[in-house]
């Protein structure tokens, strides 16, 4: 899956603007009146967001006295930039990015996991015969130039005993799939096993997929809901209602995926029903935690382990970044 990045300056700028005070809708927690929440997506509306749009379509937000405005991503700023700047109340982002932001002392907290495990994968076309990390020796791998993608690759190669110098890493920007189709690279790192890989399969291209957490990278939550720490302090009940309405949405999608995808496609122009349905069915189990935890559950142990990996890879160094990066207090049956 491709991601959008801006220069660090933009993040600092955003934080600076945030310091000047909140710019957009402040949340007014008035019981009985509708509260506005602007939600910034990580990527264009797709199968990963099925529960959110289901909640919207089935009126779960309305029932929770919420007016949720869903905004697609922008090439001008990342979701976390906008969140930190106060332009949105909730953003969808990725566990590594949350830790990176906290490393810069940006006070963000992850309040729910949308996707429990990594979706990021190494994807290649069948003719490359790359079925395991060991097959990467002597090959060229493309990614989007994100530092932790480089760390992923290094960890995978190390885990498979492949010397890093035998593998060439190329920045292909946002064009992951064009890069493997054109043959410019043998494989790409950053495509999702539940999205690009399915697209390719539906087009008859028979991709080979190696998931991050099956190749030696510690597991992490690919997609999470993130809010500013201050929002939890000031408006916990509001965010709780939001998260739990979304949880109901994912549960409804689990009960009737076809209807859910129909809602998703109806509410978003340009989506392919066939692709999104296949993606939802493939991802469904990853939306829900195991061991009877409520939807959105984040494992503290997992966050600590992943944070430690990032520290070892010199991606973060701030001792305050990892502790309290995530909280489950707003999930069903928690906190209160």
């Amino acid at each position: 899956m491709t991601r959008r990045r801006t220069v660090l300056a933009a993040l600092v700028l955003a934080a600076g603007v945030a310091g000047c005070g909140e710019v957009t809708n402040t949340i007014t927690p008035n019981p009985g009146t509708v509260n506005n929440i602007t939600l910034e997506l990580d990527y264009f509306p797709n199968a990963d967001h099925v529960g959110i749009y289901e909640a919207q379509a089935l009126g779960y937000f309305k029932q929770a006295d919420l007016n949720v405005h869903i905004v697609a991503p922008t090439n001008a700023a990342t979701p976390l930039d906008l969140l930190a700047a106060g332009r949105v109340q909730v953003a969808i982002s990725y566990e590594p990015d949350v830790l990176l932001a906290r490393n810069q002392n940006v006070p963000l907290v992850s309040v729910a996991a949308i996707v429990q495990q990594p979706l990021t994968s190494i994807v290649s076309l069948a003719r490359q015969h790359i079925t395991s990390p060991a097959d990467l020796r002597g090959k060229t791998v493309g990614d989007s130039g994100i530092p932790y993608q480089h760390a992923f690759l290094e960890t995978i190669l190390h885990h498979a005993g492949v010397p890093a110098r035998t593998v060439k890493e190329v920045n292909v920007g946002e064009g992951l799939v064009p890069a493997i189709i054109s043959g410019r690279v043998n494989a790409v790192l950053g495509a999702y096993w539940n999205y690009e890989a399915i697209e390719l399969r539906q087009l008859g291209r028979r991709p080979n997929v190696i998931r991050m957490n099956q190749a030696g990278v510690p597991t992490y939550n690919e997609l999470v809901f993130v809010v500013r720490k201050g929002t939890i302090v000031d408006h916990a009940p509001l965010i709780r209602r939001f998260v739990q309405a979304v949880a109901r949405g994912y549960e409804a999608a689990r009960r009737d995926p076809v209807a859910a995808v129909q809602n998703l496609v109806r509410m978003n122009p340009g989506l392919s029903y066939k692709l999104q349905l296949a993606s939802v069915e493939a991802t469904m189990s990853s939306f829900f935690p195991t061991d009877g935890h409520p939807w959105g559950w984040q494992s503290a142990a997992q966050w600590n382990a992943f944070g430690e990996w990032m520290t070892q890879e010199h991606l973060i160094s701030n001792p305050l970044a990892v502790p309290d990066a995530s909280t489950n207090e707003l999930l069903a049956g928690q906190g209160v």
Binding site: V71, A76, S182, L203, G270
Partner: protein, 258 residues
């Protein structure tokens, strides 16, 4: 131009287009390009037909952004041109800034617009206005400055004040330049609109393009682009027609009309 000549005038370009489309179709069908990268014309035509409803409603969204953005851009350009024309101080101080505004990559400016103007129509208008105002300033200013100085001297001897000279001579004389700039702006604005929609949008042709592209739906992506291109051409043609209507004097009289 007689009707006969008008039709034969169309035949040439049409033939060229048909031949090009034919070559394109053969090229893809015979395996010259991966359909994911370059879809065949028939696939694009099919997508145009299947998605016609979605394409139309999203076209309206983009069209609104573009038309409003151009209007804002042209107004700003007019004010700036007149100001720079009249004031040497403004020319020295402002003109270099205008040029700089175009040299700064728009990827750096878009985030600022987003922060200041939010998610709605405004930041898109700002981006489109930013891209469109400059060519209009350049051409309008050029037209203002190439007014015959002898004409101005003449008007002065006819007791016209500076304001009168501007109103009666310079302003009408600048209109052809304004239209030329507007035609350029119209074409640039479409590209700007795509970028503007990628800067935060849930609808529009630029959005459709990006979403189709992200799902590897190449025919649908090209279909959105086709509509955008047609829109740009239509705007250009519309402006050309409006120019002939509004400024009939700017064209040489045809001595030997058929």
């Amino acid at each position: 131009m007689s009707r006969m000549r008008r039709w034969t005038g169309w035949a040439g370009p049409l033939l060229v287009v048909v031949v090009l489309l034919g070559i394109w179709e053969l090229y893809v069908d015979l395996g010259g390009a991966d359909p994911l990268v370059l879809p065949a014309p028939h696939a694009i035509a099919s997508a145009l037909y299947t998605d016609r409803g979605t394409l139309w409603s999203n076209f309206l969204v983009t069209a609104q952004e573009v038309v409003l953005g151009i209007i804002v851009g042209v107004l700003i350009a007019l004010v700036l041109s007149i100001g720079i024309h009249f004031s040497a101080m403004l020319r020295r101080g402002v003109y270099p800034l205008l040029i700089a505004s175009q040299a700064i990559p728009i990827v750096l400016i878009a985030p600022l617009f987003l922060l200041w103007l939010g998610f709605g129509l405004l930041p898109k208008l700002a981006i489109i206005a930013l891209v469109t105002f400059f060519p209009v300033v350049v051409t309008t200013l050029a037209a203002l400055e190439t007014v015959d100085p002898d004409l101005i001297k003449l008007m002065q001897t006819l007791d016209a004040s500076r304001l009168e000279v501007f109103r009666r001579v310079e302003l009408p004389a600048s209109l052809p330049g304004l239209f030329t700039g507007a035609k350029l702006a119209a074409v640039f604005s479409v590209i700007a609109a795509v970028f503007a929609e990628q800067a935060g949008s849930n609808s529009g042709l630029g959005y459709l393009f990006t979403i189709a592209d992200s799902q590897l739906l190449a025919p649908e992506a090209f279909a959105a682009v086709a509509v955008l291109s047609a829109f740009a051409i239509a705007m250009f043609a519309l402006l050309a027609v409006a120019e002939r209507r509004a400024l009939p004097w700017a064209y040489q009289p045809k001595g030997d009309t058929a």
